[in-house]
Symmetry: C2
Subunit: 345 residues, 2 copies
């Protein structure tokens, strides 16, 4: 007899699906196959974020074995960095489109979102984080990949005597307590301390920037470290870019054409008020693509992560719309804020 508890969540050895490849994660093949049958689909598109692309061929392989011969499985080769970043070309040309690794940003009949939750245990590092939490009120947030353990996180904190404040953000977010790299609305809660359970530096940094009055404690369950979000280094980098851009005569205003990353009104406003601003449309915003244009500075109305994470890779200053206002003297320097996105698309 198979003891279910032997297997971690997502382990498919006990699902009865006959697969060609071993599986550590639950790609929810059954749900995909059902959708294909229901819609009598002939073309199935698969999109993986960068870190999961390597798994694409094996997932495609298993699907092909389980699906009728006349179904074509196509893998998106476009870069993908979030649910905001759907391969709309492939989506429009397939009957079923599966987006792996992110939770839904916008519901659609056509799209199947397969979130691929992490199996990593969260309570051990939360235990360590307790020392950083003063008082008995705490906000709790996490990322899509640990969302499957959100109740466990809350229970843990409550068992430790905390009143746990959680909130669902706006339409851009699927789950209570979920944060994105560009949306921290779920942290708008009534507590001075926020515990962020998850990896990466960008999410808690944005969190701390958006909520300068709160202490943001980071419990990283993958690397097993507890840190406190520190906005100083980040702010220095951003101020440096803003200062450099103050001398700019010509501005390239980037409108990102990715379905969930476009802010047309903001781009339009800048253009209307600055005759030395020029509108550039593009999907991937990369240093190479901008090099040829030769503007003195850029303002990116698309994904703020590109601006702040990749900023130093661009040969000219690249600012968020808020930073742009500071650079042209419309806003004082101390009003520098983290750029966030709200709503879906």
């Amino acid at each position: 007899m198979t003891n279910e508890s032997e297997y971690s969540e997502g382990d498919l050895r006990n699902t009865g699906l006959s697969l060609k490849h071993d599986r550590e994660w639950d790609y929810e093949l059954e749900r995909i196959i059902e959708a294909v049958e229901e819609r009598d689909a002939k073309k199935v598109g698969l999109q993986f974020p960068e870190g999961l692309k390597r798994r694409g061929p094996a997932v495609a392989d298993d699907l092909r074995q389980l699906l009728p011969d006349d179904v074509t499985v196509m893998i998106s080769g476009q870069p993908c960095y979030g649910a905001c970043d759907l391969d709309t070309f492939l989506m429009r040309r397939t009957d079923v489109f599966v987006h792996f690794g992110h939770s839904p940003m916008k519901e659609s009949d056509k799209i199947i979102y397969v979130p691929l939750f992490s199996n990593v245990k969260v309570t051990p590092i939360m235990e360590e984080a307790l020392a950083e939490l003063d008082g008995d009120e705490v906000g709790l947030v996490t990322t899509a990949q640990h969302m499957n353990r959100f109740d466990e996180m809350r229970d843990f904190l409550e068992d430790e005597g905390f009143t746990v404040h959680t909130r669902r953000g706006d339409d851009r977010l699927t789950h209570e307590g979920q944060v994105l790299g560009c949306n921290y609305a779920s942290a708008d809660i009534d507590a001075d301390h926020v515990l962020y359970v998850g990896g990466g530096k960008f999410h808690p940094l944005g969190l701390a920037m958006e909520h300068p009055d709160k202490k943001v404690v980071i419990a990283d369950p993958v690397n097993m470290v507890v840190t406190i979000a520190d906005t100083d280094k980040f702010l220095k980098q951003r101020y440096a870019s803003v200062h450099k851009a103050m001398d700019a005569e010509t501005w390239g205003v980037i409108f990102c054409t990715k379905i969930g990353q476009g802010r047309w009104e903001i781009a339009q406003e800048i253009l209307e008020e600055n005759e030395n601003a020029y509108l550039i449309t593009m999907d991937e915003v990369t240093p190479d693509r901008l090099l040829n244009f030769g503007f003195d500075a850029y303002v990116n109305t698309g994904c703020p992560r590109i601006t702040t994470d990749d900023g130093p890779r661009f040969n000219k200053p690249m600012l968020t719309p808020g930073e742009y206002e500071i650079a042209i003297g419309e806003k004082p320097l101390d009003e520098l804020e983290f750029d966030t996105f709200h709503g879906t698309w």
Copy 2:
């Protein structure tokens, strides 16, 4: 009085248009402005190939000065390598879409093609090339940017006593005698010698590969050199890639989503016959994008220039569809051919 002959073709100092920026080339602003007025356009998209992107802002500037205030001028930030490579996102979202630097691949009411002809003189280097042309029959081909001097080229050769053979290729080509990096149908002529007037190595190489029975003489009017197309080095490189790919167990089959670079039937055929082949869809085919997938080899059904020019930059062998057939043993090694594209899209 202005003496017209002082000015080179395309010089706009004598057009009466009041421009903010000096112009060496004729961007045909008048034609664009007329189209905008005719269609009462509110959004105008501009697309430049990589080498001309730097001119984009000044062209946009002049257009904005000449157009009503409520017209938004948008510049495509997508990479662009040919008329096959239209920014369809921007095209669909603008009322007038101007594609600079290439001759039309497909006529469309929406698109204005502004070819930007070169002003370089062609007869001096043709004079030098005469020594390489035996007999009195010669084929003549050139690229889009020198097309404005095609009659002059023909006249020159006829004056030298040659019978000049020219031909319009297929639907992919606009002009008599024009070649593309992926189409040499205009060289299917009845002469043992073909004179190619133009720059770059890729065009004459493809020409020589497509017509191994002909001597292809290259007259480069920009660098002022005459050479003979030599396919040996190119062939060695290609054979090396094919040999490496012979050991591949898994294949990534790339279907390019660019409007003029897709060959769906070819991709589909490979998939149907090879169960270890997986379909990947993408617009830009770059080493970075493929790195994450981890296939043993790739076959690119998109632009052959990527495969052959950029091939060595990919960490796994990248083949054309014809080379793929050799690698899997369907065709003998000596049937290696240059990959070409026919028709429009």
